[in-house]
C-alpha cells in the first residue's frame, strides 16, 4: 500500500512526513521504501486544483494479510493520530439528503453483507475538473467517474464499481451462480464453475438474470462505462472475503477490488464512500443528480467480546491495565468501560465495524492494544527454568557425531537442494534407472515443478565435479540430508564423496584401486568413531557404483560405498573418478550405545597451521619388502615438524616379470624406486631453511639405517 503525503495531510496535521516512519514501524506497518518526486509534471496537475504538484512523498508499506482496514489512507491516518495524540479530521462528504429508490436493489445472496446502488447523473466533465489531492497510482486514461471511484477506494478503502446507465437495467441483485460463462471488461471470457456471487441487472435474457459483474472482482464487458457516459449506476457493496477469494483463485484473476475485499472491507462505510465521491464532485463544482437503493444483511452487528484483566496482565503486564490503554481503544472506535473493568476485572468490548474480519476473539483486541502501547515497552519477566538439559533424537545426535568426525578428517559439509533437476531426471531415465519411485512436485498453479531426490549420488557427484572444475584440488564433501521416494518415504542419511588426483603410472595393475583405501578408511573410521566394531561387508555392483560394498550390522544395511560409475561422472562433466559413501542415519542410530552416541565435544582436532609449509623430495631405491606406512608413522612420531609424507612417484622395473606382488598397496614388493615428498610445518612459526635441512638430514640418516 502506498501512503501518500498529500492524502494523509487532509486528515492529520503532518509537518515532516518522513519522520512518521518509526511510528509506522511500531504500529506494524512495515515501511519498505520511501520515495519522493513520483509524479512528473504533466497537463493534468496544473488544473486539478487542490494541492497536487509534481512533488509527492510516498511510503511504500507492506500491509498484513488480514488487515483490509490498512488499505485505507484514512484508517492509517486515524491510527497515526491515535498513536501520536493528533486530531483527526474527517474527509469532506456530501451531506444533503439522498432520495431513496427501493427499485434499485432487489436481492442479496448469503455472502453479500451490503449491496448499495446509487444512480448518479452528472454534467459532462473531464478528469482535469476533478479536485483530487493526489493522482498517485491512478490510471488517468480511464473515465473520470471511474478515476474518482478509484481515488475514493484508495482513500477510504471501499472499492466501488460504475455501470453505464445506457447498458444496464435496474433493479440490481447479488446472486450466487455457477457453471456460466462471463466476459469481463478486460476482454477475457471466464468459465465460472464454482458457486460465485454475481451482480445481476434486469435486462431480459433467456432464462435468468443477466450478470453484469463478478461481485467484488471485475465488471462485465457489456455494462462498462464508456467515454461520454455521465449517467451511471455506482455500486458500493461489501462481500464476504472468503467467497471473493475462492472465486478469484479459481479463475486466476487479480484486481484491485478483489485485493481489498479479500482482506475484509468495513461493512458500514459504503454510504460514506459514495458521499465522499459526491463530496469531491461537489467541491469540484460538478453538478449532479443522485438516487439511492440499499440493502444489508440481517446478521450485521458489531462484534462484542469480553476482555479480562487476567489476560491483559498475562500478555502485556501492567501496561495492559493502564487507563490510557482504554482511551486509546476508544479513539480507535472500540466501546469499552474502564470503570467496570477496574471494578470487576473484566469488561465488554464492542469492536468497530472496520475490524470485523480482524477481531474475532479477546486475543485480537490484545493484539490491537499491543500495537498501540508498543511491544518493546512491555516489562520482561525473566524465564525461570529448572535447569534440566533437553534431549535430542538419536538420529540428530548421530548426525552431529558423524559431522564432527568427518570435519576432523578433512571433509566439508555442503547442503544441496532436495530436488532433481529436469536434467538429472532425464539422465536417470537415460541411464536406465527406475524413475517410477520418484515423487513429483507441482506448484499451486498445477504446473510440474520438480522431482524430489530419491538418492544423493547425483548431487554429491555433481558438487565434486563442480569443485574440481573450479580448481579445488581434492574436494571432500558430505551432506546430512533426506531422500524421498514413494516406497521408502523420507529417509535421513549422511552421504559424502571425494576425488583425488591420479598420476600416470604405466605399471599399475589394479585399475579400480583408486581412492578405495581412503574410501574404506573414511567409512570404517565413522564406525570406529561410533564404537561400532562388529560390522560385515558385502560387495555389490549396481547401476550407480562399481566396487561397491554394503556395511551391515546384525543383518541390517547401515551404509554403502563405492566408486561412482564413469558414465555418470562423464554425464556430469566430471574429469576424474569420484568415490561416494552413504550412511543411513535412522538405521545406524538403532545400534549406537546411548552413552557413547554424542562425541561432538571430544572429537580429535586435526592439526592445522596458519604458517606456510615447505617440502623436500627424496628418491630412494628399495631392495627389500618394507612396510612404508609404518616407517612414515615412525618418522612423524619422532619429529613434530613433519606435517605429511607422500609418495609422489614410483618406478618398478620389470614388475610384471616377477609376478610376486601383493595386493596391499602399502607394502611395496621387490625392487623399486620411490620419490618421497616430506612436508614440514610448524603451528607456531615459519620454519627456516636451516631448520628444515637439519630435520631432513636426520630423516635421510634414519631411512638409510632402516632401508639399507
Amino acid at each position: 500500500m502506498d501512503l501518500i503525503n498529500s492524502v494523509i495531510k487532509q486528515f492529520i496535521k503532518v509537518t515532516d512526513f518522513k519522520a512518521l516512519r518509526p511510528t509506522l514501524d511500531v504500529l506494524g506497518l512495515e515501511v519498505k521504501d520511501y520515495v519522493e518526486n513520483l509524479i512528473p509534471p504533466g497537463p493534468c496537475h496544473g488544473s486539478s486544483g487542490l494541492s497536487v504538484d509534481n512533488r509527492e512523498e510516498v511510503f511504500v508499506i507492506e500491509t498484513l494479510a488480514n488487515r483490509g482496514d490498512h488499505l485505507s489512507q484514512f484508517n492509517v491516518a486515524l491510527e497515526l493520530a491515535t498513536k501520536l495524540g493528533l486530531d483527526i479530521k474527517d474527509p469532506y462528504i456530501y451531506e444533503e439528503e439522498i432520495p431513496a429508490d427501493e427499485t434499485l436493489v432487489s436481492s442479496l445472496s448469503p455472502n453479500t453483507l451490503v449491496l448499495g446502488i446509487w444512480e448518479i447523473e452528472t454534467e459532462p466533465f473531464s478528469e482535469r475538473d476533478l479536485k483530487l489531492p493526489s493522482l498517485h497510482r491512478l490510471n488517468q486514461d480511464t473515465h473520470p467517474l471511474v478515476l474518482l471511484a478509484n481515488y475514493v477506494m484508495k482513500e477510504l478503502g471501499q472499492p466501488m464499481h460504475c455501470y453505464s446507465a445506457r447498458r444496464v437495467q435496474p433493479p440490481f441483485g447479488a446472486i450466487e451462480l455457477s457453471n456460466i460463462s462471463f466476459t469481463a471488461l478486460d476482454g477475457s471470457t471466464y468459465s465460472v464453475n464454482i458457486p460465485s456471487i454475481f451482480i445481476t441487472d434486469s435486462t431480459p435474457t433467456s432464462g435468468c438474470s443477466r450478470p453484469v459483474a463478478l461481485a467484488g472482482i471485475i465488471g462485465s464487458d457489456d455494462s462498462k462505462v464508456e467515454i461520454g457516459d455521465f449517467h451511471i449506476f455506482l455500486e458500493s457493496a461489501c462481500f464476504h472475503p472468503i467467497s471473493i477469494r475462492r472465486t478469484r483463485n479459481s479463475l486466476g484473476i487479480n484486481s484491485d477490488a478483489s485485493y481489498y475485499f479479500e482482506r475484509g472491507v468495513d461493512w458500514a462505510i459504503q454510504e460514506t464512500a459514495v458521499r465522499r465521491f459526491l463530496g469531491i464532485l461537489q467541491t469540484s463544482g460538478i453538478r449532479f443528480k443522485v438516487k439511492r437503493g440499499f440493502k444489508l444483511s440481517q446478521n450485521l452487528r458489531r462484534q462484542t467480546l469480553t476482555l479480562s484483566k487476567r489476560d491483559l496482565l498475562k500478555q502485556l503486564g501492567d501496561l495492559g491495565t493502564n487507563p490510557k490503554v482504554f482511551d486509546t481503544l476508544r479513539k480507535l472506535g472500540f466501546d469499552v468501560d474502564y470503570d467496570k473493568f477496574n471494578e470487576t476485572g473484566e469488561t465488554e468490548v464492542r469492536c468497530p465495524s472496520r475490524l470485523w474480519f480482524v477481531v474475532e476473539r479477546p486475543e485480537d483486541v490484545i493484539q490491537e492494544v499491543m500495537r498501540f502501547v508498543d511491544v518493546n515497552t512491555i516489562k520482561r519477566r525473566p524465564v525461570a527454568f529448572k535447569m534440566q538439559q533437553g534431549t535430542a533424537p538419536a538420529v540428530w545426535q548421530t548426525a552431529e557425531s558423524c559431522r564432527a568426525y568427518l570435519n576432523a578428517v578433512g571433509f566439508t559439509e555442503i547442503i544441496t537442494r532436495s530436488f532433481f533437476s529436469p536434467r538429472d531426471y532425464e539422465l536417470l531415465k537415460r541411464l536406465g534407472f527406475d524413475v517410477t519411485d520418484i515423487i513429483h512436485v507441482r506448484n499451486s498453479c498445477e504446473r510440474q515443478y520438480a522431482y524430489l531426490k530419491s538418492n544423493n549420488v547425483l548431487h554429491i557427484t555433481n558438487a565434486i565435479c563442480h569443485n574440481l572444475n573450479h580448481f579445488i584440488e581434492c574436494p571432500r564433501v558430505y551432506e546430512v540430508t533426506r531422500t524421498y521416494s514413494k516406497h521408502s518415504g523420507e529417509r535421513e542419511l549422511l552421504s559424502g564423496g571425494f576425488s583425488f588426483p591420479y598420476v600416470e603410472l604405466a605399471s599399475v595393475r589394479n585399475q579400480a584401486g583408486l581412492n578405495l583405501d581412503f574410501l574404506v578408511n573414511t567409512v570404517s573410521g565413522i564406525f570406529k568413531w561410533l564404537d561400532l566394531h562388529d560390522v560385515d561387508l558385502k560387495n555389490f555392483t549396481d547401476s550407480f557404483f562399481e566396487f561397491g560394498s554394503t556395511v551391515r550390522i546384525n543383518g541390517s544395511t547401515v551404509a554403502r560405498y563405492g566408486v561412482v560409475r564413469a558414465e555418470i561422472v562423464a554425464e556430469l562433466d566430471g574429469k576424474r573418478p569420484v568415490a561416494y559413501f552413504e550412511v543411513y542415519l535412522d538405521e545406524l542410530s538403532k545400534f549406537i550405545d546411548q552413552q557413547n552416541k554424542s562425541k561432538v565435544d571430544n572429537v580429535p582436532k586435526l592439526a592445522h597451521s596458519d604458517y606456510p609449509p615447505s617440502y623436500r623430495d627424496l628418491t630412494v631405491e628399495l631392495f627389500k619388502i618394507v612396510d612404508l606406512a609404518a616407517i612414515f608413522a615412525d618418522l612423524k612420531q619422532k619429529n613434530e615438524f613433519i606435517a605429511d609424507i607422500k609418495v609422489i612417484d614410483r618406478y618398478v622395473p620389470q614388475l610384471s616379470q616377477k609376478g610376486s606382488q601383493t595386493e596391499d598397496p602399502k607394502t611395496y614388493p621387490g625392487l623399486c624406486r620411490l620419490t618421497i615428498r616430506f612436508w614440514f610445518q610448524s603451528h607456531e612459526r615459519s620454519l627456516s631453511n636451516e631448520e628444515i635441512d637439519s630435520i631432513f638430514d636426520k630423516i635421510v640418516t634414519n631411512l638409510r639405517a632402516q632401508l639399507g
Binding site: 534431549t391 578433512g410 515423487i439 524430489l452 573450479h470 599399475v508
Partner: protein
C-alpha cells in the same frame, strides 16, 4: 532439367550420401567430414543462399535435421570418450591422502548446532518431523484457513498423490512443508504440558529463485506450552537467545505482525550491522532487519488439540536460519549456501 528437379536431386543426394557415410564411417570421421570447417554441410549451406523460397526451406530443414543428429552424436561421442578415459585411467595407488586440512560444518548446520546448544541448556528438546506434510498439519491445524489471504504468504508445493488410482482430490494432497511451524501440530497432538521443543529443518516455498530467494531454505522453530507464561516471558527468552547468537551489544526490536497461528504476533528485528539502527541504504532506511517471527499460540490452535487456552498458553518463535547463517558467515547471496561450492564454504 529444371531448377526444381535439380534441387530435388540435390536433396536426394545429400540424404543418400549421409546414409552411406553413416554406415561406413566411424562417428568421429563422420562428424569431421560433415560438421568440420570444410565439411559437407558447409558447402550445402553456401548453396542454400541462392535457392528459391520453397526449396530453400526444404533443403534447410534437411540440413538442420542432419546437423542436429550429428550434434547429438558429437555429444555422445565426447561423453563416451570421457567415460572410457575415466574407466581406464591409471590410478595412483600410492597416494597418501596426507596434508589434510580440517573440514567445516555448513554455515546453516553450524548455526543450528549453536542454537541447539543454547536451547538444550534451557531444557528444550530437539524434535523433527517430515518434510512431506499433510495439509492439515501445515495449514488447517494452524488456523490457516483455505482461501484466507494468509495462504498467499506461503505459496505451496503440492506432492503428486502416491497412488493416483485412488483419485485423491487436490485438497487432500500432501504438501512440502512451508514452515517448520508444521511441527507444532505433531507435537501438540501427542505431548503433554509442559511442552518445550525446538525444531530445525528445511522448508519449501514456491518462489521464483534468484540470488536471494530460494524455493528451499532452512528455518528454526520453538514451541513452549505451559501454565502461567505469556508474552513477557517470550520476549525475555528471545532476547536472551539473540544476544547469545549475535553478541551482547546487539540491538533488538519487536514490531507487531500477523501470523494466523499466533495472537498476539510480533516480528523480531535486529539492528542493521552497518548503521546500527540509524537507517542507511543497506537496510532500506529502516535501521533494522527482520530475522524472525513470534507470538502467543492462537487459542484456536490450542483448542483444536484439546488444550484449554484459558489455562494453558503456548509461546512460539521462529527464525529464518538460512538468511541469518548467510549473514553471519558473510555470504552475500542466499543461493551460494546451496551451491556446494567449497570456495565459499571453506572460507567460514
Amino acid at each position: 532439367m529444371g531448377l526444381a528437379n535439380a534441387i530435388r536431386k540435390m536433396i536426394d543426394d545429400i540424404k543418400k550420401l549421409y546414409e552411406s557415410d553413416k554406415s561406413s564411417l566411424d562417428p568421429s570421421a563422420l562428424i569431421s567430414k560433415w560438421l568440420g570447417s570444410n565439411g559437407v554441410l558447409k558447402s550445402y549451406l553456401a548453396q542454400l543462399r541462392n535457392m528459391p523460397g520453397e526449396e530453400k526451406k526444404r533443403l534447410g530443414q534437411i540440413i538442420n535435421e542432419i546437423k542436429e543428429e550429428l550434434n547429438d552424436l558429437k555429444l555422445q561421442t565426447t561423453r563416451q570418450r570421457e567415460t572410457n578415459r575415466l574407466k581406464v585411467a591409471p590410478r595412483d595407488l600410492t597416494y597418501s591422502f596426507g596434508q589434510l586440512e580440517p573440514g567445516f560444518d555448513h554455515p546453516v548446520s553450524a548455526f543450528h548446532s549453536h542454537l541447539a546448544r543454547f536451547y538444550l541448556a534451557y531444557g528444550f528438546s530437539v524434535v523433527d518431523g517430515p518434510e512431506i506434510e499433510t495439509q492439515f498439519n501445515n495449514f488447517d491445524a494452524l488456523n490457516i484457513q483455505e482461501h484466507h489471504p494468509a495462504r498467499d504468504m506461503q505459496d505451496t508445493f503440492y506432492v503428486e498423490p502416491v497412488n493416483v488410482s485412488l483419485g485423491e482430490l487436490q485438497e487432500t494432497r500432501d504438501v512440502l512443508r512451508t514452515h517448520t511451524t508444521a511441527i507444532q501440530a505433531r507435537v501438540l497432538s501427542t505431548a503433554r504440558i509442559p511442552i518445550k521443543v525446538v525444531c530445525f529443518g528445511k522448508v519449501y516455498r514456491n518462489e521464483t529463485e534468484d540470488a536471494s530467494h530460494q524455493a528451499m531454505f532452512h528455518q528454526f522453530e520453538l514451541l513452549w506450552v505451559d501454565r502461567n507464561i505469556g508474552l513477557p516471558e517470550l520476549l525475555s527468552l528471545i532476547e536472551e537467545s539473540l544476544l547469545f547468537l549475535f553478541g551482547d551489544n546487539t540491538k533488538i526490536r519487536f514490531v507487531p505482525k500477523y501470523y494466523p497461528y499466533t495472537q498476539p504476533s510480533i516480528g523480531v528485528q535486529i539492528a542493521c550491522a552497518l548503521c546500527e539502527g540509524v537507517g542507511c541504504s543497506f537496510c532500506g532506511g529502516s535501521g533494522y532487519s527482520t530475522v524472525g517471527g513470534a507470538g502467543v499460540v492462537h487459542p484456536s490452535v490450542l483448542e483444536r488439540f484439546n488444550f484449554d487456552p484459558k489455562e494453558i498458553t503456548g509461546l512460539a518463535f521462529g527464525l529464518g536460519s538460512s538468511r541469518i547463517a548467510a549473514q553471519k558467515a558473510g555470504i552475500p547471496k542466499l543461493r551460494s549456501l546451496y551451491d556446494g561450492d567449497l570456495r565459499f564454504l571453506r572460507r567460514f
